[in-house]
């Protein structure tokens, strides 16, 4: 039983060290994404009227959004993963 527990800890350590957690997360997103697009019909250009409307754009104004979220960089420990990119600054 003890050996089994040690093996379990060892496997967890190895997984963490080799970035298995990262890989699992990536796999999850890929599967989720694949599941979402599987079977979806191709949207023809003449059917994209609504997709081009401001209410359907994920970032309808990236500049404005970046400015509104400016404060978050200095009040939280994490950034990224939202598609936005910015330069460095040491401001408050």
């Amino acid at each position: 039983m003890k050996a089994k527990t040690e093996l379990h800890h060892h496997v967890i350590n190895v997984m963490e060290k080799t970035g298995m957690k990262t890989k699992r997360l990536l796999l999850f997103f890929i599967i989720l994404f694949a599941a979402s697009i599987t079977g979806c019909a191709t949207v023809q250009p003449w059917e994209k009227g609504l997709l081009g409307d401001p209410i359907m754009l994920i970032d309808s104004n990236p500049l404005e959004k970046g400015l509104i979220e400016h404060h978050i960089d200095y009040r939280e420990g994490s950034v990224g993963g939202t598609g936005a990119q910015s330069g460095g600054c040491g401001c408050g």
Partner: protein
Amino acid sequence: MPKVEVVAVVKFLFCFFIMGLSLLAQTLPDDELQVNLNTYFDNFGVAIAYPAVSVTKQVAPNTSVSGRYLVDVISAASMRSLFKVDGVTSASKKTEGGDAFPNEVRHEFTGGITQAIGDVRASINAIYSTENDYYSRTLAADISIPFALKNTILSFGVVKSWDIVAPDNRPWEKEKNVLSLNAGLTQNITKSWLIQLNLWYSNNTGFLSDAYQVIGINTLGRVKFYSPAYPDNRDRRAAGIRTVFALDDISSIQLGYRYYWDTWDIKSNTANILYQRYLSENIRGVFGWRIYNQSKAYFFLPEYTAPLELMAVDSKLNESVTNEFEVSLKFNSEIFKSTPILRSIMMETAELSVGLNFYMRNTVTPDWHSRYRMLYAYIATIGYRYKF
């Protein structure tokens, strides 16, 4: 910044740009002028105003250039720390005036070029940010490639920053370098539903600490002050998924989730929901809620009884939960046709937006400086966007 490294990055960006040209582009960004004024106020006594102006102009059939100027004006009533520098914002060095006058001004200049050929769009941006105790030079490049009747868009981005940290209270200058990579995939699922996946990686090296914060350690009845000490390397990763779908012809819901993890042991979850609706033909309402939680950095402690090799007291490295609410209204020019002054600036394609965000961050232990656990902040925005 090492010269060899600059040359290597410039070469890389050039190749990246040429690659964009050689592939078969989405439309260029619209020609537009944007003027934004944002303000930030919180219960820690910090007030910030950051106006920005940006222009994008097509200069050739497939080429567009852009420029932006932003100013950060920080006025901190909490200028009470030992180094006479605001411990919350790191604002330093009064420019002039009394206590109510801004403590620090930062200027940021951005210039960029976007090239479209066929269905591929590539852009390069250079950013220079300067303030009295911090300088940053950034090069950013991104490319987006559409497939399948533009129903799938693959995008890649790279950002490299060379920063110089030169605190007022220290005789030295130190470097900080950041390299970030981003990959995104956007897919139209139906004519009223799309989904986006983003992966992000960033490597930060150099001086990553804060020279203005202090850690007081009580030793035998006497308090001795130490500087925080952070690791000089940080690998940061994030994966996010966002989706937006129409509820009907006049409203939509956007849902997003992001997982973040780094080598400082911070892990975070962010979820957000955004509801957009045309309140009338000329007014669009945006209502959002964002919830965020994070674990603490492995070297963070709320109190220290003895100096350690690595130490941090900054609340942004502490375990916390955040809620943020957003309300904004966007008006098109039609609504101002009978308004005397606005009528003259609200041309046919202009949009005026006003918004208010309410931000609440609750840390598990009090902030090192304010001693508050809860941070409340109000972010007010007003923006003018004119497409010409």
